[in-house]
């Protein structure tokens, strides 16, 4: 399972970077979204996979016992997802606006700010 998820993380990173390198703005955003998911999967993987042992303290126990899933990556991923949710919604509004104002979605034509005038 770890191998499978590791390969999946690799695929997500590769796909994300490939899309970022394209010239279209929409593909850029999709690429960033995919990269973000890749990172979340990586964090999940880094916590170690434990099957069927949630980190719950049962009512008769006082502390966690035996093998249990690491709860920290879940908290990290949840935070990362919330943050990327905010950023991505901003990004979508931004590219919509950029398309309206600049009348193009080709990144190569966006070179006004780098002109030496």
């Amino acid at each position: 399972m770890e191998i499978l998820l590791a390969i999946m993380t690799g695929i997500l990173y590769a796909a994300g970077i490939y899309l970022i390198l394209r010239r279209s703005l929409v593909k850029l955003i999709i690429g960033i979204v995919i990269l973000g998911n890749g990172v979340n999967l990586l964090i999940f993987l880094m916590g170690g996979l434990v099957k069927g042992n949630p980190p719950l303290i049962l009512s008769e126990g006082k502390a966690l016992e035996g093998l249990y899933a690491d709860p920290v990556p879940q908290a990290l991923i949840l935070t990362a997802i919330v943050i990327s949710f905010g950023l991505q919604s901003f990004a979508i509004v931004l590219i919509k606006r950029a398309y309206k104002v600049l009348k193009t979605d080709d990144i190569d034509t966006m070179n006004k700010t780098d002109d030496i005038t």
Binding site: V39, G47, T113
Partner: protein, 508 residues
């Protein structure tokens, strides 16, 4: 109450921002709240600084969870001095924004976002947890996106697309690094990491992770191959926003580098060489870039990159003297870069443009202002006894004693190129006679302003110039602070003991 002082710099700006959100549609009240909030920020920053100065590093465990499990907030001398400087700049900028920001932009929530940004900065400086640092970084960049696009002019949107993409990617790289650190060590608390990492045998992996962090922070601070977003976006928003970004945002990247590469991954031989090469190239390309630009704001943007090289260079030498130099340079740079962009905004109002060939005759028309503006410009070059001079002594001597002559040459080159650029700006805009300028009709020039409006533009510049002069003539105070920071950074046990609440035998 006062034992929680460590957390107050964050809270004061958060509460200010919430208050501002309640007065969303009322720009006038927002201006007052913002000024009061920033002033309170200075007071709290000063209190915290004096407390840390007297009692050593302060730490607090959020939610009362013990050290490696919860999130620690750690106020060491580096963090508190940066917070104090941040709050001073923020105070100046909230006065400056009263006139520089038109009401329609204030109605989009400019002031609230401004305070969220300062809150993010304070949080990033204070936090003792790697993932929490990431969260504060995101608070900073989300706020900066909004500030960058507020107003929505064509050029702003275009700059924002570039800024957004690169910063987003850098966060993702940073998060990747965090994931790998967590996988390798099972901890994210910086103090605990400083003990775990040296004991890990897989040095190659640690090297890789540290470079991933370097790339992440490098994008934020704008080092050589990763800086292209910076000159593409920093000149697009109004001067107040540019000044905020120029003074503080890139420095957070440098702060994170200083923290991570002293505490968690102390620089090894290989990383030192990599950082050195990158610092040299940053200074070179930043300087060259600034030389060819013909617009004042863009020249300043490239100068930011050029001077980031000084700080990365100081870090890369990794001796106490060099780190002291880098930190002193950082203090100087925060104040002066913010001042530069603010005076850029004033000159835009005077000439109706920031292009160099549209300027001229400042000296004849506004002799007092010219004198005022000369101070930050010359401080930037480092003409003794102004503030840029003092950190360079430490940096030059450190690179000489370390035997890194190439680094020394680059430092001198960057100083010279700054001198050339400032001389060019001085020549063009101050000493040449006034070219026959066409007056734009629907544009409010500086001499149309009422006294109050002029004061709102100039008073904050006077404030920051005052800080620069204080730095210039009482540099030994800053030197003392920087030396203590250098000592704290190089001996990580102080930080560790503070987080874990271990009492230190007093040696001061």
């Amino acid at each position: 109450m006062s034992e929680h002082l460590t957390i107050y710099p964050i809270l004061v700006h958060l509460i200010t921002a919430i208050l501002l959100l309640f007065f969303w549609m009322n720009p006038k009240i927002q201006r007052y709240i913002s000024i009061v909030g920033s002033a309170a920020g200075i007071v709290i920053g000063g209190l915290l600084f004096s407390r840390v100065w007297e009692n050593g590093i302060q730490s607090i465990q959020l939610g009362n969870w013990e050290a490696p499990f919860g999130i620690s907030m750690v106020a060491d001398t580096l963090a508190v001095s940066l917070i104090l400087l941040t709050n001073i700049v923020a105070f100046a900028l909230s006065i400056y924004s009263t006139e520089n920001m038109v009401s329609s932009r204030v109605k989009f929530g400019y002031y609230a976002i401004f305070h969220f940004l300062i809150m993010g900065l304070s949080g990033a400086f204070l936090t003792g947890d790697l993932f929490n640092l990431y969260v504060w970084f995101e608070v900073i960049i989300i706020s900066s996106f909004v500030l960058l696009t507020i107003g929505g002019r064509k050029i702003q949107i275009e700059g924002a697309v570039k800024y957004f993409t690169l910063n987003m990617i850098s966060s993702i790289i940073f998060l990747t690094g965090i994931a790998m650190v967590y996988g390798a060590t099972g901890s994210l608390n910086m103090a605990e990491l400083s003990r775990i990492i040296p004991e890990i045998e897989n040095k190659g992996l640690m090297q890789t992770i540290s470079l991933i962090f370097f790339i992440g922070f490098g994008v934020k601070s704008g080092v050589f191959p990763l800086y292209f977003w910076l000159p593409a976006s920093y000149h697009t928003p109004p001067a107040a926003v540019s000044a905020l970004f120029a003074g503080l945002l890139t420095k957070v990247g440098i702060y994170a580098m200083l923290r991570v590469f002293t505490l968690i991954f102390p620089l090894g031989e290989t990383n030192q060489i990599i950082l050195m090469i990158i610092a040299g190239l940053t200074m070179f390309f930043g300087g060259i870039g600034a030389l060819v630009q013909k617009d004042m704001m863009r020249v300043f943007s490239y100068l930011i990159i050029c001077h980031i090289g000084f700080m990365v260079g100081g870090l890369s030498l990794f001796t106490e003297v060099a780190i002291v130099g880098a930190i002193m340079y950082m203090f100087h740079d925060i104040i002066v870069k913010a001042t530069l962009f603010m005076l850029g905004g004033v000159m835009f109002r005077i000439f109706g443009s920031t292009r160099l060939y549209n300027m001229g005759g400042m000296m004849d028309d506004y002799p007092k202002l010219s004198f005022l503006f000369a101070i930050p410009l010359f401080a930037l070059v480092g003409i003794p006894p102004l503030s840029g001079f003092w950190p360079k002594i430490s940096l030059f001597s450190a690179s000489y004693t370390a035997g890194e002559i190439a680094m020394l040459v680059m430092f001198i080159f960057a100083s010279l190129i700054t001198l050339v650029i400032i001389a060019k700006i001085w020549n063009k805009s101050f000493s040449t006679s006034d070219p026959k300028r066409e007056r734009k009709l629907s544009f409010k020039y500086f001499n149309d302003f009422s006294f109050a409006e002029k004061a709102a533009y100039v008073a904050p510049i006077i404030l920051l110039v005052g800080v620069t002069l204080y730095y210039s003539f009482f540099a030994e105070h800053f030197q003392m602070v920087a030396e203590r920071i250098g000592e704290e950074l190089m001996n990580t046990e102080h930080y560790y003991n503070a987080v874990y609440g271990i009492k230190e035998v007093s040696e001061l």
